[in-house]
Symmetry: C2
Subunit: 194 residues, 2 copies
């Protein structure tokens, strides 16, 4: 009832992630992955449902890794409201930079309705929401704020990765500035009525 333990899914996904980081996500094909593993590409179908299935697994793995990085970064400090958020945001950028292919895969899942994928996304969202608690926002504005932070973080790393920030101005300074400015504006969401 359980024969031939050769490849297994985690190994396959990790290898795929490494290849994505090294060569770029676009170079991740069944052919290149199979070659990397010294296997024929049809054999991959024993572990994964074709290329879309592999990309889906990659996205899920990426979201899991991203979440664990963010969580690890947060528990370090817990003083001001701002500091843990900045630590989390910097962990986010660090992840996107050190694992560019894997990060890119997280937002390109062929099946965005996948259960595990949604679960990891929700965990990340909950993490961010928890960090925003000190701002004492109502439910709706908290959602707006989480969306804002996610947009800032993803937008920044995506544009950076595409080479869209051309000017010779330090990127880390820009990123910190951008997050701090957003946080500085957050109190605005507390005392408005309409």
């Amino acid at each position: 009832m359980s024969p031939r333990i050769g490849l297994d899914l985690p190994t396959l996904v990790r290898a795929t992630a490494q290849l994505a980081d090294e060569k770029g996500l676009r170079e991740v094909t069944l052919a290149t992955v199979a070659k990397y593993l010294n296997i024929r590409s049809p054999s991959l179908y024993n572990h994964v449902d074709g290329l879309p299935g592999l990309r889906n697994e990659l996205a899920i793995y990426g979201l899991e890794q991203l979440y664990s990085q963010l969580e690890a970064a947060v528990t370090i400090s817990a003083d001001s409201a701002k500091e843990p958020i900045l630590a989390m945001a910097e962990a986010y950028v660090h992840f996107a930079r050190t694992r560019p292919g894997l990060y890119e895969a997280t937002l390109q899942a062929p099946d965005s309705q996948n259960e595990r994928l949604i679960r990891w996304s929700n965990d990340t969202i909950t993490l961010v929401a928890r960090l925003l608690a000190p701002y004492e926002l109502d439910e709706l504005n908290l959602i707006h704020a989480v969306r804002g932070l996610r947009s800032l973080m993803h937008g920044f790393v995506a544009i950076e990765h595409a080479g869209g920030f051309g000017l010779p101005v330090n990127l880390n300074e820009s990123f910190a500035s951008v997050i701090e400015v957003y946080l500085a504006g957050l109190p605005r969401l507390k005392q408005q009525n309409e």
Copy 2:
């Protein structure tokens, strides 16, 4: 010295853009474009340098269209500092939503060093910077602020397009909130010294 005017580059690029919007950028191949134009795919090489060349032209065209949409949206109002920025930002989202394939192409140019591409990007950046003039930021902080707005706008539409905003909360309200919060935080960049 000029024979057989069949296809020309603008027609090819516009057709490619339409196909990208309808079927998704990933479906844009030399084969599908050629089929769409009732042509054999090798003929496309008379106008464009393979698939990378076509994607590059698409990116340039997309940046040009995006810029013109933003410019058109801005000149409408000019009262407060906030209003034109919101108008611009909403034009940005509108463009990304109505031309999803073309928008997606703008940040995936195979040659990010292309001259025309850089020119349109710079024009857009200049446009945003001009809108931020009322905040009276010094040169460095102005760059941070432009990067912040771009990150917000792109991040939001990218996550939205990926289906990343799952909760049943109005997206337009979130977007307006996110922009307004960032703008509300901008004065913070004026009176800090370090």
